[in-house]
Symmetry: C2
Subunit: 245 residues, 2 copies
């Protein structure tokens, strides 16, 4: 299944301005303005200038938050988005609930406490984002993430992503039963997405600092239904015809 | 969501010959002929006369097995179907792999060994069958069973059924994660079925004989998506209009 562009011109628009360029523009703008995010529940509130609203929307990080105050603009980032912008793009400083900036390892511990599966989900998120996929929540489709080739305004999401891991405490029991498996594959197919299982593996026992992420690997597997009728006799018939001719 | 009949005349056909009558005819025919089923892998092979093929098909038990032998007719029953016909309808004797008929408690132990979740699945199956629902495998839709109001030739299945339990060893980890839940509810909706969760509960510790089933209860819960827009202002508007008139 290839990308399903939303309009005739969408593909050209996407090619003219690749996602890597858009993210690079956002990154330099946020660094210049010394942008801060504030830990708030299971997310991070980002205070940005009016000009940066368009950039964040284009790069597909977070969701705008409507407030009564029209002078400041707020975006709500997921934990994975916030940590990616802080740790990987290094363009956002994160302020803790105690109003002081968080060091990398402090933030790492804090996010792992807020979300039991943070390590594996972040590894999967950063893996896809690092390859310039746009990654959004998959809750609409009963999966962990969905991945888009470019901005969701231009193209439908191509992959329904499930994060799997054998780590104790992660306890992602998705796809362990046939009935769950059949349900997920069927739903992914019916919404024209390919099911992508990202299996996070590691021999690391120490997870006290984000540097442990280097010890983790990501195994990618796409799962599609197989039809025994598909292409069964195509090849032999073509051969027979060409040998006749 | 009500029943979706397949044709205009389907509802009348179903009402003229209720499923309880069809099952009663099958039951008396199988008792008269002293029908035997043979344990085979995770199922039971039923040897029946030519006349009984139509009755089994109408009552929706098992699937016909095609063999080279045209004199005998074979049906393959699931473990739940076989135990229901043996223990509840008392119309089939089951022969073990040692070629001797199985007593109730022997068969019970044997089926529990063949399928870890047999007790809970059988309780759910017999609960629905006892209320004259036609119950079939739900594997097409990633659920445990589907339930039809009458024969699948007349009506689409109305319920996608998931069997849940807290029993140790049952380990049905379906619907424990939000993503699985969202996936199952969305798929059920998209194939026009209502998700029915049958929660099997018991205080019994002894499960050595099928009489323990009486100590089990079934909690029924249907799950549908809720839309905040639905019927929000219907009632007040109607009232206002009638008070004007």
């Amino acid at each position: 299944m290839g990308p399903r562009w939303k309009d005739n011109g969408s593909k050209a628009t996407a090619l003219a301005d690749p996602m890597s360029n858009i993210v690079a523009r956002l990154q330099s703008s946020l660094i210049q303005s010394g942008t801060c995010g504030f830990l708030s529940g299971c997310g991070v509130l980002l205070e940005i200038s009016h000009d940066q609203v368009g950039l964040l929307n284009h790069a597909c990080f977070g969701r705008p938050v409507t407030t009564a105050d029209t002078d400041t603009n707020w975006f709500r980032l997921s934990l994975e988005e916030a940590f990616y912008m802080h740790h990987c793009l290094k363009c956002v400083e994160i302020i803790g609930e105690d109003k002081s900036p968080k060091r990398d390892d402090e933030l790492w511990e804090c996010m792992k406490l807020k979300k039991r599966t943070f390590l594996e989900f972040y590894k999967a998120y950063s893996h896809l984002r690092g390859k310039n996929w746009v990654v959004r929540s998959g809750s609409q489709y009963g999966v962990d993430f969905v991945a888009y080739r470019h901005h969701p305004a231009l193209v439908h999401s191509e992959y329904a992503v499930i994060v799997s891991s054998e780590a104790e405490g992660h306890e992602n029991c998705r796809l362990k039963l046939w009935s769950d498996f059949e349900c997920t594959v069927r739903l992914s197919g019916s919404v024209a997405k390919t099911l992508l299982v990202l299996h996070i593996k590691s021999n690391e026992n120490c997870t006290f600092s984000p540097s442990c992420l280097e010890g983790y690997t990501v195994e990618e597997r796409t799962i599609t239904r197989w039809s025994p009728e598909q292409r069964r006799e195509d090849q032999p018939i073509v051969k027979a015809e060409s040998s006749k001719g």
